[in-house]
């Protein structure tokens, strides 16, 4: 069967148009099913705040950060995640703080409540605050991989050394594993 040049071009145009439309419609769906994007995240129920995250990450400044779930926090004057053990004076003097970089900002709200905020630029993910908060407080401070800083490596270097197997892939639609949520 012979095909004229005009018909050939017409068929090619129709196939190209149809393919493009189908790609636009089915592409995102197919991408979601076949190439589901996975992100690495720390399971706070498994994490022991051992501190390995700080140096095991391939990034010079680890992608791990401390996060604070305010709904769990006690807003205490004496915060076990902020102060070193045995601290008598409760103020913001650096020598009393657990955080080696001063990444936790403490603010008086009203008697007797204080708010504790994490400065993401300063936090190095060492987990010292989270460890103490878990041991003596409500566990409202804990570690998460900050997806903004994460390189999304195929194999997470922190997961490879995590003694508690606390780091696992999570769907991109659920980038954080937050307590109480």
């Amino acid at each position: 069967m012979s095909l004229s040049r005009r018909d050939l071009l017409k068929k090619l145009f129709l196939w190209a148009t149809g393919g493009t439309v189908a790609g636009l419609i089915l592409g995102p769906w197919f991408n979601r099913i076949a190439f589901k994007r996975r992100l690495w995240q720390i399971d706070p129920d498994k994490c022991t705040n051992c501190g390995l995250c700080e140096n095991a990450c391939v990034k010079f400044h680890s992608a791990v950060r401390c996060v604070h779930t305010y709904a769990i926090c006690g807003y205490c004057d004496l915060c076990s995640g902020y102060y070193r053990q045995g601290t008598a004076m409760l103020d913001t003097a650096p020598e009393r703080q657990i955080c080696p970089t001063g990444a936790i900002e403490r603010n008086f709200i009203e008697n007797p409540y204080f708010e504790y905020r994490i400065n993401r630029e300063l936090c190095i993910g060492c987990g010292r605050c989270a460890k103490n908060c878990e041991a003596f407080g409500n566990g409202s401070l804990y570690l998460q991989i900050d997806q903004e800083y994460c390189s999304h490596c195929n194999q997470c270097a922190i997961a490879a050394v995590c003694p508690a197997n606390a780091i696992r892939p999570t769907e991109a639609s659920l980038p954080y594993l937050l307590k109480g949520g």
Binding site: G74, C76, D77, L78, S80, Q85, G86, T87, A88, M89, D91, T92, A93, P94, G102, E105, R106, N107, F108, E110, N111, P112, Y113, F114, E134, A135, F136
Partner: protein
Amino acid sequence: MRQNGLSIYSKPAALLISLPFIAILVFMLRYDPTISWTAHTSDMDNQPPDWRQGSSNVARFGSWHVVFDVPDSKHDIDGSWPSFRGERGNNIQTASALPADFNSLSGVRLLWEITLGEGYAAAAVRDGKVYIIDYDENAQRDLLRCFRLSDGRELWQNGYQQPIKKNHGYSRAVPAVTENSVVSIGPSGHVMAVNNTDGSLLWGVDLASEWNSAIPSWYTAQCPLVDDGIVVVAPASDRALMIGIEESSGEIAWETPNTEQFGLSHSSIMKATIDGVPQYIYAAVGGIVSVSAKQGDKGRLLWTYKWNANVIAPSPVIMGNRIIQSAGYGSGTIFFDVSLQSGNWIVDEGIHRAPHEGLASEQQTPINAGSFIIGIQPKDAGALREQLVAADSSGTILWSSGSDLRFGLGPYLLSGDRLLLLNDDGTLYLFRVNREGYELLDSQIILPDGRDAWGPLALTETGILIARDDKRLRCYDLNGDLP
């Protein structure tokens, strides 16, 4: 052209070459890399000065007093657990409270339940009545409430306005009931004595405004001690370390100066007799102190032992001449001996054990069971964290409940060789314990969906158990044989 072997351009050239180095040197000397830094100082949290001194409002004791019209009970129940840690202050009820074959909790029967303001204050029981200090959130009022043991009907309440904000609950202490009165300490340090029959006010003392006490974080949990008609409390302020108040009149019977400037803790005063001398022992912030309880010598400071633990909730445990004091937040436990030699008190150096090195307790007071001590290890106790343990008098662990049996900050008490332990979630555990080991006999949820069930248990010699979580008080007949 050459001059003495050097080009005439040598000097300018050397000067030219050295100029950049000089410029760098000048720049380095003038450059301050810290110019953009901000000093991290002690005043960056905007806390107002002296906010911890608390309210300057003096409580109007007796401003709220209600006696309820309640019909007589058909079946009165007797029983006693008259103060913090029971009649003898050791958290041990007589073995008769539970039958010899009490090995199961399946027969426990709920007698009644009442709703409370959020807190950890627990009940005292005497002559068929239950007393508890509560906080009415809506009215912002401390309330000493009295209930009938048999059916939980409220008989009276006496309170005073005290606006405070929730800080991990409100009320914390256990009242002390005597033949005539009930003495309570509210979360903000208000010591109040009322008639135990109708709740009418006898007297009140405000530790913060009258004795300059600095109320600790999360309010005070100190439970009053009534000894021989004297209410013994520790203001631990610049005015006094410990005071004795006449139970009947509220007059100050004696006071002990606070020479070491120790602070108020959550611990309670324990009475003990060491080398024949009765004394009141208290774990203040800064150290453990002893004050004479001997007639004619009451209020005299006998000895002190300095220890820097900033949050102390457990009370001192006394085993003969040995004092055992635990504290939370990683402080661990100290063990030291005191003795009276030639009229002088000798306090030895003692030993300190970190939580992972031996017996420790964060909140509850361990029990001296005679030849061993029972306690629950805190979360920072390494492999033994949150396990029920037995230890000897130097804190060496004799046995532990194992990794499958871990508990929180809940209370526990002994009756004979039976240990009743309430976990944070409201599950009651029954153990048989001795120095050699333990046997888990049974467990039962007695506070369904319980949360922070930390208030001390009360167990009467008639087998009535009173337990609470953060918002409920429940009364159980353990033997299930009451009418």
